[in-house]
């Protein structure tokens, strides 16, 4: 061990301390002292004589600190968490991409329930200490046009956007734009040394694509197929009453599309939040059990 050496000279109420780092002095009585440390920092120290417990506040400088310390234990901790530095890595992220149909037919009750579900989702994620730092949500809407209404942000940083029903259903275009957004986010994670979990892609619609004859639809199908096959993301298609389930099956031949029971958007988002909380806390080798949304008490039917 490197030698520590200190010598205290007492002269009435004034103590002079000589150490290898320099000379300090202090004035006071047992239990209350003011002084300048050998490294030049001003401090006040209040202690309980006999217990060896001191509260010290350093006064000057930008590194002013205050702390309790126990003199008797100070020198006996070779692995002192105060001296061992921890790497400052960003939290691993779980990307959650919501692709929402806000076409004209969603007007009225459905869009109001979807809106309420989104608000609940945000609140649930924000209430979980880990999920609020790890789950990143992006929202793309399609109704008349395709809009990225929320780019990837953690629950702390996003507010559920106000949704307004309008226009036709460019689902293929929305899917292609969304998956590009996701791919870009993953590139950013990699470039910044951020670890991440397998992203979730959630499509919610009450109709069928009005661009099914375009290249967008062909590309969307191909990208989802590849993405699932290479485990780039998990794709879930959810049909609301009136949805063209055959078209959704085209998109997701591997994972059967789910049909929302009634307008149970809130239950859907509760499930999503719970599942993502589990995943975002999982460690290698953990089995992450997700409750079956199509169970009798779930929000979906197959």
């Amino acid at each position: 061990m490197s030698w520590r050496w200190r010598k205290v000279f007492r002269n009435g109420p004034i103590n002079t301390t000589v150490t290898t780092k320099g000379v300090g002095w202090s004035i006071g009585i047992r239990g209350l002292r003011y002084g300048i440390s050998p490294t030049g920092r001003h401090y006040i120290s209040v202690g309980i004589p006999g217990l060896g417990l001191y509260w010290t506040k350093y006064l000057a400088g930008h590194d002013a600190t205050k702390h309790w310390r126990s003199i008797s234990n100070m020198e006996q901790t070779p692995f002192d968490a105060g001296k061992i530095g921890f790497a400052d890595n960003p939290e691993p992220r779980c990307a959650s991409l919501l692709i929402l149909d806000i076409s004209g037919s969603m007007g009225g009750q459905p869009i109001a329930e979807l809106q309420a579900g989104l608000g609940l989702y945000r609140d649930e994620l924000a209430a979980d200490t880990l999920a609020r730092k790890r789950v990143e949500v992006a929202i793309v809407t399609f109704g008349g046009a395709v809009d990225v209404v929320q780019s990837f942000a953690t629950a702390e940083c996003f507010t559920a956007p106000a949704l307004e029903a309008r226009g036709d259903t460019p689902m293929g275009e929305a899917l292609v734009a969304s998956l590009k957004l996701l791919e870009d986010r993953k590139t950013e994670y990699r470039q910044n040394g951020i670890q991440f979990y397998r992203p979730w892609v959630f499509l919610i619609t009450d109709g069928g694509p009005t661009d099914a004859n375009s290249q967008f639809w062909v590309d969307a199908k191909e990208k989802i197929r590849q993405g699932e096959e290479q485990k780039k993301f998990s794709f879930f298609a959810v049909g609301v009453e009136g949805a063209d389930m055959d078209r959704l099956t085209e998109l997701s031949p591997g994972r059967t599309p789910l049909k929302l029971k009634g307008l149970r958007f809130r239950d859907l988002f509760q499930w999503l939040s719970n599942s993502q909380q589990s995943v975002s806390q999982s460690k290698p080798g953990d089995a992450v059990p997700l409750s079956n949304p199509a169970a009798p008490n779930g929000w979906a039917q197959v």
Binding site: I84, G193, R198
Partner: protein, 252 residues
Amino acid sequence: MWRVVPASVIGTSHEKAGLPCQDACGFLRFKCGDEDFLLAAVADGAGSAALSHVGSFEAVNHLLATVSREILALPEITKDQMRKWMQDVLTHLASVAERENTTQAELACTLLFALVGNSEAIFAQIGDGGWVVEKDGGVIPATWPQNGEYANVTTFITTDGALEAMQFERLNGKILAVAGFTDGLQTLALNFLSRTAHAPFFKPMFDAINSCDDETSLIAPLHSFLVSEAVVFRTDDDKTLVLACRCETESN
């Protein structure tokens, strides 16, 4: 001779779930002619495998026993030789599975191995966690966690293709200190952006071992550190840390 301070501690999440500590570690020191060898192994049992605490314990002990029995000169230990030893561990796990009346998959664990001589060392690794060494005045990673694309995915020795994916590194030059750890500590000990070892994590610990009179007196403090609030706040997983420093001045 080497001074070694090992500790495996249970994580708070495992404690809450009533699970055992699924990490294991072990080491051997021996002298061959003038050369001091350090042999160390670390394993982390898979969270979802029922008997992974048995798997990690058996894997560590079997690997150390096999390598010390069949020890070769360092240059002769090739990646293929290392795979043979890992395969030997797998075969052993199969017999353990039979004994425990379970499947090999229920014994899933990562497995990390180090053999350090005077001027050469080899490191092998299946899965996450890692080895860090102090050498040429710096603290550098010898291996890197295999987390695949996703943070919650890794390779276990029982995974298909695990031996093919095994990392194998040979370092030349004199290594002054070595640390092996499981994934519970990797985000505290490594900088993922720069892919470097976080020296302020390791240096104070190496210093403590170098400056102590009796390293066995440091086992309890290392244990306390690993369960201290500062560490547990950052990681609720099981944690293993094996620290080893080359001790030059000892007269044996």
